[in-house]
């Protein structure tokens, strides 16, 4: 069936273009990141968040005024789904919450405070630090593991290059996600919180998971296919073979995540969106970033050794 035709496709012929496409997708995000930065939630900046539910739509300015009258600096009043609003402020003493609640009910009799949280800024700095530490260790751990698991690839290919290529693809996905949220943060007021870090790290895990399957096949074929085939042919062959699996697996994950996005609770919507985008990017990057980078690098190394 399609196994016949898939061997006809020369996927690696356009390898440079895949990388160009990635660059085109990533660049706007990087620009947004540099110009606007990320819209950090209290998890990072420290401060207080009050969430309210109202019976009908309100004018957010009225809500803001309640806070201003009590000389509390409001950073944003963000509408959520339904008639819910969250108010982000500079840190507020918990003792003052009752006073604030009363102030809000005076203006909006049919309101309900859903939650109130205060995070000290000191924990914010540390959350960021611990996330970066986790990310760095994940990169090191994955590189070491791949270098170890692929230690038997035939010469002159090197398991180290497999590891680095996988990590390059993974960082691609991280950039796609962070860039997207920089853009969303500016235009849609979407915040980056602790859950976003979870999503990024998950996507990185998935991306490597996906890349390893492709690389595993390349390794297997390097030992099996005739020696006249160079790394590009072998990679092409292997990518074609694993393509339907990559698509099938990503589809199953995309099904579950789409269901969660459409039907799941509000609180995890952005988290699920981040995962959804990341999984799609991760699938793309395993085939169209990791493999081309590996091919280009191995070819370059072979040329240099001649």
């Amino acid at each position: 069936m399609f196994a016949e035709e898939r061997k006809m496709r020369n996927l690696m012929k356009y390898k440079i273009w895949y990388l160009v496409f990635s660059a085109v997708v990533i660049l706007p995000g990087i620009v947004a990141l540099l110009v606007w930065g990320l819209n950090m939630s209290v998890d990072f900046t420290g401060g207080s968040v009050f969430r309210y539910e109202f019976e009908s739509g309100i004018n957010p300015e009225d809500l803001r005024k309640v806070y201003l009258e009590k000389s509390i600096e409001v950073e944003a009043v963000v509408p959520e789904s339904g008639n819910k609003y969250s108010v982000r402020t500079k840190p507020v003493e918990p003792q003052r919450n009752n006073e604030i609640k009363e102030g809000v009910s005076a203006v909006f009799p049919n309101s309900k405070q859903l939650s109130f949280e205060t995070v000290g800024p000191s924990i914010g700095a540390e959350t960021t630090r611990s996330a970066f530490v986790a990310l760095s260790w994940a990169v090191v751990g994955i590189m070491v593991y791949i270098a170890f698991a692929f230690r038997n690839v035939p010469k002159p290919y090197s398991s180290f290059r497999f590891g680095v290529s996988a990590v390059v693809a993974m960082l691609h996905d991280a950039l796609v996600l962070v860039g997207l949220f920089a853009i969303l943060g500016h235009f849609k007021n979407v915040e980056v919180d602790g859950l976003f870090i979870t999503a990024v790290l998950t996507v990185l895990g998935f991306s490597v998971h996906d890349t390893i399957v492709v690389f595993d096949r390349i390794r297997e074929n390097l030992g099996k296919l005739p020696k006249v085939m160079d790394i590009e042919d072998v990679t092409n062959y292997s990518v074609a073979e694993t393509l339907s699996r990559s698509v099938a697996t990503s589809l199953t994950v995309i099904f579950t995540l789409s269901a969660l996005y459409v039907l799941g609770g509000d609180t995890i919507k952005m988290f699920v969106l981040a995962m959804l985008v990341g999984i799609i990017s991760g699938t793309y990057s395993s085939i169209f970033n990791a493999a081309p980078v590996l091919v280009l690098w191995e070819k370059y190394a072979a040329k240099k050794n001649k």
Partner: protein, 461 residues
């Protein structure tokens, strides 16, 4: 033993049944067999094994604050004045004290834990079902302080009144001796000189020189009367030892508290005394109130969504792989039940990110099946007979499955190690999910397929 397909099928059914019982405990089942020493009640919301020695509350999943609502307080302990070697102990003691205070709130399932990151020593308090954060902070956010008290002069001591004095903080007065006078408290075993308590655990109080003087005076005045050790001046004293007659001349050695202790209770008391002996100032770093409505709605929706997602996955598998897909669907069901059972047994505190981790692990479980089935398709394409193709499919896909899952496990371990709060919950459910998924997608699916082939083969013959 696992070569025999019926043994494997039996093992799978037994595990699944057990997991189902744990996940859906509706009616209690009493199991009693004196021959193998089994006396257990399963279901009915409580699991009791070995005559009550092993107990597990299986009423419900342990839900995190985001699902149940409540308050969360992070306390920072200032350990700068404490020897580096003693810091962990001090933090542990402070946690003990705070647990005691939280218990005073009379709430169910509070969660108190210590966390350390770098040189920051923290205590995390989560109290589900409470919404007055100010009251909670006032109650638990104070520094632990141990005080030694004696009975007020108007209160006569007699054994009959023990309970009354024990429960009435007002019957006591301060003596000026506090935790600051104490260097530590250790569990020791009574030596031979102490005939009455020989071999039993005791708690030895180690005073500073000045503290020893003061305590010596106090003991002389209170021979045959009790001294109360209060932590926090609230509730009941930690301990209320009666000064023995041989202390009438003052201290000759470090004083000991003896009584009907087991090593466990003695250790716990010494920890609590030490908590007062090493006052750890704490300050509130972070506090949140989380509305329960927020959780309930989200959870219901997310569980429903997860169900729909799972159904879609199964339909997709059947559409793409036919009969193999049905088997994978059944295995996916077994996988879900097993994982949920582990969540309940452990117990894993379920949070929204935790549920997300569980859902992602479903994806990874499916991936293992997809890898195998695609490989089987390929082998068939290359002209292998079907049975051999299935066999080869499992063998040859194993490398990819192993490498990809190990890398995911590495990621989840790193997340668990370095992440905080919700990230940790996510990593834990993901890791459990990956391990169970390997079992279900390899062992279970393979057994099913082989079983189907054995039966199919008989029919054809």
């Amino acid at each position: 033993m696992f070569k025999n397909i019926y043994v494997r099928l039996g093992l799978i059914s037994a595990l699944t049944t057990l997991a189902l019982l744990i996940v859906l405990p509706r009616t209690p089942i009493k199991m009693n067999n004196s021959f193998i020493g089994l006396d257990a009640t399963i279901g009915g919301y409580n699991l009791e094994l070995f005559g009550g020695k092993f107990k597990k509350d299986l009423r419900d999943f342990k839900k995190g604050l985001d699902l149940k609502g409540g308050i969360r307080i992070v306390l920072e302990a200032d350990v700068s004045k404490i020897d580096a070697a003693e810091r962990d102990n001090a933090l542990e003691s402070a946690k003990d004290v705070i647990s005691k205070r939280v218990d005073l709130l009379g709430v169910t399932e509070p969660y108190v834990a210590t966390t350390k990151s770098g040189d920051q020593h923290r205590i995390l308090v989560e109290i589900p079902g409470l919404d007055n954060v100010t009251e909670a902070v006032n109650l638990i956010g104070q520094t632990a302080q141990l005080t030694f008290k004696q009975l007020k002069p108007e209160n006569e001591w007699s054994e009959d009144k023990m309970f009354e004095y024990y429960t009435t903080p007002d019957s006591w007065e301060n003596t000026g001796i506090t935790g600051a006078d104490l260097k530590g408290a250790d569990v020791v075993v009574a030596d031979q000189a102490d005939i009455q308590n020989q071999g039993k655990p005791q708690i030895k109080l180690r005073f500073s020189n000045e503290g020893r003087e003061k305590f010596s005076e106090l003991a002389k005045k209170n021979v045959n009367k009790p001294i109360a050790l209060y932590l926090d001046e609230t509730g009941v004293p930690l301990s209320m030892p009666v000064v023995s007659a041989d202390l009438a001349q003052g201290l000759t050695d470090d004083p000991v508290i003896s009584g009907d202790f087991t090593f466990e209770t003695a250790k716990s008391l010494s920890i609590q005394i030490r908590a007062g002996a090493l006052p750890v100032p704490v300050k509130v770093l972070e506090q949140e109130t989380i509305g329960a409505t927020l959780g309930a709605e989200s959870v219901q929706k997310s569980f429903f969504a997860a169900g729909v997602g799972l159904l879609l996955v199964v339909l997709f598998l059947i559409f793409r792989y036919g009969r193999l897909g049905i088997l994978a669907g059944i295995a996916l069901f077994i996988y879900s039940v097993l994982t949920l059972a582990i969540f309940k047994l452990f117990p894993v505190v379920l949070t929204l990110p935790g549920i997300a981790g569980f859902i992602l692990s479903i994806g990874m479980a499916t991936d293992a099946n997809v890898l195998v089935f695609e490989r089987v398709k390929e082998e068939i394409f290359w002209g292998k007979p079907k049975n051999l193709a299935i066999h080869l499919g499992f063998d040859r896909a194993w490398n990819s499955i192993k490498d990809s899952n190990v890398s995911s496990l590495i990621t989840s371990f790193i997340l668990f190690q370095f992440g905080s709060g919700p990230v940790k919950g996510f990593a834990l459910t993901l890791a459990i999910g990956i391990v169970v998924s390997l079992f279900s997608s390899i062992f279970v699916v393979r057994t099913f397929i082989e079983f189907a082939n054995v039966r199919g083969g008989k029919k054809n013959a």
